[in-house]
């Protein structure tokens, strides 16, 4: 696999397109995960203060 990526004339193009794709897909996962974490925390704070879903 590494040879396919780097051992050719166009290895840099192949490697960079896969690297950009991996970065963007991982960034999407992080965005969803971090957003969920912070919103869950905010919702819990509201729940505890009595203004949440059951407040």
């Amino acid at each position: 696999m590494i040879d396919t990526l780097l051992g050719t004339q166009y290895g840099g193009f192949i490697a960079s397109s896969f690297a950009i794709s991996a970065t963007v897909l991982i960034a999407l996962i992080l965005w969803v995960w971090l957003t969920f974490r912070s919103r869950r925390k905010a919702l819990k704070a509201l729940d505890d203060a009595g203004f949440g879903r059951n407040g």
């Binding site: 166009y10 193009f13 397109s17 203004f51 879903r53």
Partner: protein, 263 residues
């Protein structure tokens, strides 16, 4: 929790999922399976991608196609999800429709960016150019601008019902760009080859390249479905937070008025 999901599926209606508790329970049950399927599909797809022989014209750069084409498919697929959601907002007024559209937009924008970036990187060695203002590339760039415009629109308008309606109208108008992207290679003289997979008379691509492309397409689709469900969950929670904050603000105001009267 399972009882809630079973009840929702028994009803067999989207309206059953309008209840946030039911929807959140459904997401909790479905996302791990979808995520696992995504990992399996990506593992097989990447293995096939690096096992194929070199193309007689593109050489090893043909491997870029296996991440470029699925990204383009999903960029347009995400937009079609938003079109269905926009109809849900305007016609059926389903509470989850705007949630679905809002959650799909950033993911669709990311896929559009990936389609443009990987296409540009492939174009440099194959066409000798990073960018050409041809019909396919330009209409695809317009798709990215539409996505970004919609995200800005949702952020700019505070009132939820108004922002949902306005975004739905913009989504439906922007949908005109989807057939332009798809058929631009037939309608105009472009650098792009004509369609070789999604054709009425079947794919013209040899199976050795078609198989990894379809597996990677499936992996991207599963990735989108997983992330879209989770992003929808985040949006539902955001709305619950906003409702809670309103309650808190109202309580603070009532307390302030009561204190003022005492004084």
């Amino acid at each position: 929790m399972n009882a809630i999901v079973q009840k929702a599926s028994r009803k067999g209606r989207l309206s059953a999922l309008a209840n946030p508790a039911r929807f959140l329970a459904l997401v909790r049950v479905t996302w791990p399976g979808l995520a696992l399927a995504t990992i399996v599909a990506f593992t097989i797809g990447l293995y096939l991608t690096f096992s194929v022989p070199d193309d007689y014209q593109q050489g090893r750069t043909v491997r870029i196609m296996f991440i470029h084409v699925p990204a383009v498919w999903m960029a347009m697929g995400a937009y079609m999800v938003m079109v269905s959601a926009a109809l849900g907002v305007l016609v059926w007024r389903h509470p989850l429709a705007d949630v679905a559209a809002r959650a799909a937009a950033p993911i669709g924008a990311a896929f559009t960016f990936l389609g443009l970036a990987t296409g540009s990187i492939w174009g440099r060695p194959m066409w000798g150019s990073w960018w050409e203002w041809d019909a396919r590339l330009t209409s695809f760039l317009v798709l990215l601008i539409i996505y970004l415009g919609l995200i800005a629109l949702w952020r700019a308008i505070e009132e939820p019902a108004r922002s949902a309606r306005m975004a739905a109208i913009v989504i439906l108008v922007g949908a005109l760009n989807i057939p332009i992207i798809k058929f631009s290679v037939d309608w105009f003289t472009t650098l792009h080859q004509s369609a070789s997979v999604l054709r009425l008379d079947g794919p013209t691509m040899p199976p050795v390249f078609l198989t990894p492309l379809l597996v990677m397409g499936l992996a991207y689709l599963l990735f989108f479905l997983t992330l879209h469900l989770l992003a929808m969950r985040n949006e539902v929670i955001r709305r619950q937070i906003r409702t809670g904050q309103r309650k808190a603000a109202q309580a603070a105001r009532t307390e302030q008025i009561a204190r003022g009267k005492k004084q």
